[in-house]
């Protein structure tokens, strides 16, 4: 009897141990993957940071000269590394793109979810997915062969420039903002809308006074995500912006962005040269900006949950 009992206990023990082993293997595998991910992110951040700092630490370029200097002449006899034109170019194109794309995206999202939820969604959903799947070089090419000639004919200048860059970018970030906004709108409890209707509010009043204010933090999240994409986009912008190292005085003048300067310059410089280091510093600025965008998104999400 007693023997039987101990055997049963042992049996149970060994069965539990098997589960434990499976659990342990699964957990170690997961931990390994997460660890790998964290290591690669940390080392990337470390690499970009250490490279980016060397402009200031090794080449002794002052922070003020880099961030506020307007003259970019890295290969000259007396090299200067003023990156302000590119920082300004990045911000101007990004903000313009967001200004153009946000109203369009929000309207598209409202159309899909509120105005004609049936075929509106069926029609627009695949279009938006397609838009986000098109490679950026295609956007740049279309910009170069459609938008640039159009701008050249209508406005003064060569067509290439800030306006062309912002227009191309705005089309590229449309799907991001639209899909985030549409998700937020369709997640809204239906009876919130209905209680507005039940008070005799019209559809427009309901959209403008109930639906949009309620979903605003989520929609802004979409806008910030779109801006992050615009800020980091290199190829398409580079094709249409003209790549002149100056702060643009009008929308139809050539300019550069941080990304376009990096992609154009990286291949033509030698490692550890001051020029190369300056490009890394710009990469660092880009990275920090991305962190800032992520931070803003987090902040908005926190506000939404309250």
């Amino acid at each position: 009897m007693q023997n039987n009992e101990t055997m049963r206990v042992q049996d149970r023990k060994s069965r539990i141990e098997k589960h434990h082993i499976e659990d342990l293997i699964g957990r170690s595998y997961m931990s390994l993957c997460v660890l790998l991910l964290i290591i690669s992110i940390v080392s990337m951040v470390y690499f970009v940071t250490s490279k980016g700092i060397s402009t200031f630490a090794i080449d002794k370029v002052s922070l003020a000269d880099f961030f506020f200097g307007t003259k970019w002449s890295p290969e000259g006899d007396n090299p200067t590394f003023g990156a302000l034109p590119f920082i300004a170019g990045s911000f101007i194109t990004t903000l313009l793109a967001a200004l153009i794309a946000s109203p369009l995206s929000i309207c598209a999202a409202l159309f899909m979810t509120e105005i004609v939820p049936g075929w509106g969604k069926k029609l627009l959903q695949p279009v938006i997915e397609l838009l986000s799947g098109i490679p950026s070089v295609v956007y740049g090419f279309v910009g170069l062969s459609v938008i640039v000639p159009f701008l050249r004919n209508v406005f003064p200048g060569q067509g290439i420039g800030v306006a062309a860059g912002a227009l191309v970018l705005s089309v590229m970030i449309l799907p991001t903002i639209t899909s985030v906004a549409a998700d937020a709108l369709s997640a809204l409890p239906r009876n919130l809308k209905e209680s507005s209707f039940a008070l005799g509010a019209t559809r427009w009043q309901t959209i403008s006074r109930v639906i949009l204010p309620t979903t605003l933090p989520a929609i802004l999240t979409g806008v910030v995500l779109g801006m992050a994409r615009a800020f980091g986009e290199a190829l398409a912008v580079q094709m249409v912006i003209g790549n002149a190292p100056f702060i643009p005085k009008s929308l139809f003048e050539s300019a550069s962005t941080l990304t376009s300067v990096i992609t154009l310059g990286m291949g033509n410089t030698t490692m550890r040269s001051p020029h190369n280091n300056a490009l890394w510093s710009m990469a660092l600025v880009l990275m920090l900006m991305t962190f800032l965008f992520v931070f803003i998104v987090r902040l908005l999400e926190k506000r939404r949950s309250i």
Partner: protein, 266 residues
């Protein structure tokens, strides 16, 4: 409470009955007939309870009374809804105007993501009420009618979402009252609330029926018995039984009604 007409008196007053009633009202979702030709009166100064198992069409029926089903694509209806001699189910009815006459409160409290004050002022603002003083008055009187004023009068600018569930529901009732409706539709208004809040909402219903007609959908038999004057039992989109609540609950004519009320079915 003494001033209220007793249920038999109301039933004997056929002229009042005609004020608000449905006539052969059918509601379809696509080709599915969710409500099958129901004729039902809603007498003045009384509460009518709609009971029946889930999916019996009672909520659909309730929602059709202020044309809320218009917002659901694929939903169509046949028959008439008479209010003051006008068929509001007829095409061409101004739904926006109509909804000012008929307030509605949902199962889950759903205040707007605004302040308590803004929640109440929302409706009146759209119906031409101008000036802070007029709005202040409406906010106060609506909250008083919903027995919420004393609890929130010092924090009208606070977010409505900071209120408890029961307070939120009374806020929703106050919001519905803000446009001074003649009829109040309640879709299981207490099913998401705790017993104390439920008691308060039920008290409120009894008080409010002095001023307007109330139609309530409920799954809670005791609640229907407590608050309503008339009860209609729905099953599979049909009206099985209608009568004074007392009669329906103590001596129903139909055995199906009896079994449902006793909890043996549904």
């Amino acid at each position: 409470m003494e001033a209220t007409l007793t249920a038999p008196q109301i039933l004997k007053a056929p002229k009042m009955e005609r004020d608000f009633r449905t006539e052969n009202l059918s509601i379809f979702y696509g080709t599915y007939e969710a409500v099958k030709g129901i004729s039902l009166p809603f007498p003045e100064k009384s509460v009518t309870a709609l009971i029946g198992p889930s999916g019996c069409g009672k909520s659909t029926f309730l929602r059709s009374l202020n044309r809320m089903n218009d917002e659901i694509s694929g939903s169509t209806s046949k028959g008439s809804i008479w209010i003051d001699g006008v068929d509001i189910n007829a095409p061409g009815t101004d739904v926006i105007k109509l909804r000012q006459k008929i307030g509605m409160v949902w199962q889950k409290p759903n205040p707007f993501y605004k302040s308590i004050y803004e929640n109440i002022a929302f409706g009146p603002k759209y119906h031409g009420v101008k000036g802070k003083k007029a709005l202040d008055e409406i906010v106060e009187s609506s909250l008083r009618r919903a027995a919420l004023w004393d609890e929130v009068k010092d924090r009208l600018k606070d977010s409505a979402l900071a209120l408890s569930g029961g307070q939120q529901q009374r806020l929703c009732i106050a919001r519905a009252l803000s446009v001074n409706p003649q009829i109040l539709l309640l879709d299981e208004p207490a099913s998401a609330l705790d017993p104390v809040s439920t008691g308060k909402v039920e008290e409120l219903i009894k008080e409010l029926k002095e001023q307007l007609r109330i139609v309530i959908v409920t799954h809670n038999m005791q609640q229907a018995a407590r608050v309503s004057d008339f009860t209609a039992y729905f099953y599979l989109g049909q009206l099985i039984e209608y009568g004074m609540t007392e009669k329906v609950f103590t001596n129903p004519e139909n055995t199906m009604t009896q079994e449902y009320i006793m909890g043996r079915f549904g």
